[in-house]
C-alpha cells in the first residue's frame, strides 16, 4: 500500500550545501568570464574556425538541451502513462528539465558572435529557419513545463496536471525533433542531412535525461539523508538500460543507412574507421563506455539491483552521450565539404582537408558552466520550494511492498531524520 507522498523543502543550511552551491557558482562565474573573453577578443581565441564553426560550447549546449527534454520523462510517465510510482518524482523531473534547458540555452547564447543582439533573435524571425522554430519551442517549453509544475504543486489545481503533462510530453517530443532537425535539415553536409536525426535525438534525450535525473536524485537523497528505496532506482535503472539500447539501435541504423550509399562512404569511413579522435570517441566513448558497459551493468543480475552500479551506469551514459554529441557536431564538420564529389580538392581555405580542432579552455569553461548553472538552479530551487518527496522508501513507493520487520524499523528511523530536515509539507504532487 502506498501513501500519498509529501513534498518538502530541504534545509540547505549545512556547510556541505553551501560548499556545493559555492562550487557551482564558481563554475558559472568562470563560464561568464570565458564568454566575456571570447566576445571581447573575438572567436579566434577559441579552437573554432571557419572550418569548425560550432565547437565545444555547442556540444555542451546541445547535450543539455537534449537532456532537458529527457529529464521530463519521469513526470511524463507519471502524468501521461499513469505510473503511480513516479508521481512523487514528477516535480523534480520537471524542475530538472527546466534547469537543464536554461543551462544549455545560456551556453548557446553566450557563444553567439553577438550575444548582445539576443533581443534581435527574440523579435526578428525567419519562419523557414528551424532555429527560429526552436526559439519558440524552447521558450514554449519553459512556459508549458512551468505551468505543468505549478498545476502539480498547487493542491487546488492538481486535477488539471494530467492534461498539462500530456501537452508537455507532446511539446518535448516536438522540441527534440526541432533540435535533431538542426542537423537533419543540413543538406550540404555529408554527416547530416538525414531524417533519422530527429528520432535519434529523441532517444538520446530519453537516455541522457534519465541518466542525469538518476544522479541528481541519488545525490540529493544521499546528501539530505532522506530515504530512497531500491524499488524506484531499480525500475529507473532498467528503463535507462532500455533507452541506452535504443540509442545504440538508432545509431546503428543511422550508420548502416549511410554505409549502403556509396556517396557517404567517405564520411562513414572517416568517423567509423578513420583513426582520428572521432573514431576513438565513437567506438570507445559512445559505443563501449556509453552503451555496452551501461547495458551490461543495468541488465546483469548482480549489478542491476545495486544503486552504486546504477549510479555508475548513469555516469557512463552521460560520458558516452557527450562523446556522441561531440562526434556528431565536431566530427560532422571536420569531414570536408564535397564541392566536387569524386574529385580531389585543395585551396588556401582548407578545401578537401579534414579540419583540425582542439577544444580551448574558454570553450570548455563556458560549456561546463552550463552544467553548473543547471545544477545550481536545482540546488537552490529545492531549498525554496518543496520539490523533493520527504521519503522515497519502498514502503511509500512500491505498490507491492511488503514490510519486513528489519526494514520497517529502518524506515521509522529515517522518517524521524527526515522530519527534522525541513518545514512542514506544503504540497503533494498530482498525477
Amino acid at each position: 500500500m502506498t501513501s500519498k507522498p509529501i513534498l518538502q523543502v530541504i534545509d540547505g543550511d549545512s556547510a556541505g550545501y553551501f560548499t556545493l552551491v559555492g562550487w557551482f557558482a564558481l563554475f558559472v562565474l568562470a563560464g561568464l568570464g570565458a564568454a566575456w573573453y571570447m566576445e571581447h577578443n573575438g572567436h579566434f581565441v577559441t579552437g573554432m574556425s571557419n572550418q569548425i564553426v560550432w565547437g565545444t560550447p555547442h556540444v555542451f549546449a546541445v547535450f543539455l538541451i537534449v537532456a532537458a527534454s529527457g529529464a521530463l520523462n519521469v513526470a511524463s510517465m507519471a502524468s501521461v502513462f499513469n505510473k503511480s510510482a513516479y508521481k512523487p518524482l514528477a516535480p523534480l523531473s520537471a524542475l530538472l528539465a527546466l534547469a537543464l534547458l536554461a543551462g544549455g540555452l545560456a551556453v548557446l547564447v553566450l557563444d553567439l558572435g553577438r550575444p548582445d543582439r539576443l533581443i534581435v533573435a527574440m523579435t526578428t524571425y525567419n519562419f523557414k529557419s528551424i532555429f527560429a522554430w526552436n526559439i519558440y519551442l524552447y521558450t514554449g517549453f519553459f512556459f508549458i513545463v512551468g505551468v505543468y509544475l505549478w498545476l502539480m504543486m498547487e493542491r487546488r489545481m492538481v486535477r488539471y496536471s494530467k492534461p498539462a503533462g500530456l501537452f508537455a510530453f507532446i511539446w518535448r517530443l516536438a522540441l527534440t525533433t526541432g533540435t535533431g532537425s538542426i542537423f537533419g535539415f543540413l543538406v550540404a553536409r555529408q554527416a547530416y542531412d538525414a531524417a533519422i536525426m530527429a528520432p535519434l535525438f529523441i532517444v538520446m534525450s530519453f537516455s541522457f535525461g534519465l541518466a542525469i535525473f538518476l544522479l541528481v536524485l541519488m545525490a540529493s537523497y544521499h546528501w539530505t539523508g532522506r530515504p530512497l528505496g531500491d524499488y524506484v532506482l531499480r525500475r529507473l535503472g532498467k528503463l535507462l538500460g532500455v533507452f541506452a539500447a535504443a540509442v545504440l539501435y538508432f545509431t546503428t541504423v543511422q550508420h548502416l543507412t549511410n554505409l549502403y550509399a556509396s556517396e557517404h562512404h567517405g564520411v562513414e569511413g572517416f568517423i567509423l574507421a578513420g583513426g582520428s579522435v572521432y573514431t576513438a570517441l565513437f567506438w570507445v566513448g559512445q559505443v563501449i563506455i556509453g552503451g555496452i558497459i551501461p547495458l551490461a551493468i543495468l541488465f546483469h543480475p548482480v549489478t542491476a539491483g545495486s544503486r552504486s552500479w546504477i549510479g555508475l551506469a548513469s555516469a557512463l551514459v552521460i560520458i558516452g552521450g557527450l562523446a556522441q554529441v561531440y562526434v556528431i557536431i565536431i566530427g560532422g564538420q571536420a569531414f570536408p565539404l564535397l564541392l566536387f564529389p569524386g574529385m580531389e580538392e585543395s585551396s588556401s581555405f582548407f578545401d578537401g582537408q579534414v579540419a583540425t580542432y582542439a577544444p580551448s579552455l574558454p570553450e570548455v569553461m563556458l560549456g561546463v558552466s552550463g552544467v553548473a548553472l543547471a545544477l545550481i538552479l536545482v540546488a537552490v530551487a529545492i531549498k525554496i520550494l518543496p520539490f523533493l518527496p520527504q521519503t522515497l522508501d519502498d514502503a511509500s513507493i512500491d505498490p507491492h511492498f511488503k514490510a519486513e520487520p528489519a526494514e520497517a524499523d529502518a524506515s521509522d528511523e529515517e522518517e524521524e531524520d527526515a522530519a527534522g530536515v525541513g518545514e512542514t509539507a506544503e504540497a503533494t504532487p498530482g498525477t
Binding site: 571557419n50 564553426v53 553567439l112 558572435g113 529557419s129 564541392l339 585543395s346 585551396s347 588556401s348
Partner: protein
C-alpha cells in the same frame, strides 16, 4: 550632398557606358557596365545577376580576382589562415584517376534557393529580388548556422576586430560575411571587382557578369551558346554563379 554626388556619378557612368557601347564592337567589350539601379528604387526581380566562369581561361597560378576582391572589400586577415576570412578563393580540382586538374574561383554562388537564407533565424541572411545574397550586419547574431548550411564554404565568420573598413563593405566582429557580388558596384552600374580585374589586370576574361534575364547581355548569350554547370548542381539550388569546363 552625397545623394547629388551619387546621382551625378551615375549619370556620368551611364554616359560613359553609352559612349563605350558606341566606341567598341559588341563581343570585344567584355567589361561592359550594367545598368545602374536608380536611387530610391528597390532591386527588382526583372533582373537576375549572374556570373559565368570559364575554367579554360582560368590559370592555377593566377589569383588576381582574389586580390581584387580583398582590396575592394577590405577583408584583410591577421595571418591566421584558420580564422581569417576568405570571400573568394582559388580551388584546385584534380581527377583522382587521371591527375588532370583545373583551377577555378569559388565564392558565394548567389543561389536562387539559398540554404543560408533558409536556416538564418533572424532573416539577416537574405536574398535581394535581383538574386544577390547578402548578410544584413545589423541583425546577424553570429550563430553561424548559415556557415553550417552553405554547401560551398562561401561564408566566413569575423573572428576578431576589424580595422580600415571600406564604407561600401561594412564588416563586424562576431558576424558572418561573404561575397556580395560587389553590390555597391553593381548598383552603380559597374562590374564586380573580381570580374573587372580578371579582364583588365589579368587579361584573361574568364569571368562574365551580367543580367541573366536580359537576352542581350553577354552572359545570357554565352549561357545560351555553351553548356554550363554549377557546383553541386544536384542540390538544385539554382545558383547565379555558373562554370564552363568541368
Amino acid at each position: 550632398m552625397n545623394r547629388l554626388t551619387d546621382a551625378t556619378r551615375r549619370k556620368l557612368l551611364k554616359g560613359a557606358a553609352a559612349l563605350s557601347t558606341l566606341a567598341l564592337a559588341p563581343g570585344v567589350m567584355l567589361v561592359r557596365p550594367a545598368v545602374a539601379r536608380e536611387t530610391g528604387k528597390p532591386a527588382t526581380s526583372n533582373v537576375r545577376w549572374g556570373l559565368l566562369i570559364d575554367t579554360a581561361k582560368c590559370d592555377a597560378g593566377c589569383d588576381t580576382c582574389v586580390t581584387a576582391c580583398r582590396t575592394e572589400n577590405g577583408w584583410t586577415g591577421h595571418d591566421r589562415p584558420q580564422t581569417d576570412p576568405q570571400w573568394i578563393r582559388k580551388v584546385t580540382v584534380t581527377d583522382k584517376r587521371s591527375g588532370a586538374a583545373l583551377s577555378l574561383p569559388v565564392m558565394c554562388q548567389h543561389c536562387a534557393e539559398p540554404p543560408c537564407v533558409d536556416v538564418c533565424p533572424t532573416g539577416a541572411s537574405m536574398k535581394r529580388a535581383d538574386g544577390i545574397v547578402l548578410v544584413d550586419k545589423h541583425i546577424c547574431i553570429g550563430c553561424r548556422y548559415c556557415m553550417m548550411a552553405c554547401p560551398f564554404k562561401a561564408r566566413s565568420f569575423v573572428h576578431e576586430d576589424v580595422t580600415d573598413q571600406k564604407p561600401h563593405a561594412p564588416r563586424g566582429k562576431g558576424t558572418v560575411e561573404s561575397c556580395t557580388f560587389c553590390v555597391h558596384r553593381v548598383d552603380d552600374g559597374r562590374m564586380p571587382a573580381c570580374v573587372e580585374a580578371c579582364t583588365e589586370k589579368a587579361g584573361r576574361g574568364a569571368m562574365i557578369f551580367g543580367d541573366l534575364n536580359d537576352p542581350n547581355s553577354d552572359i545570357a548569350k554565352a549561357v545560351s551558346k555553351h553548356v554550363t554547370t554549377r557546383i553541386r548542381a544536384d542540390l538544385g539550388l539554382d545558383q547565379g554563379v555558373m562554370y564552363r569546363g568541368f
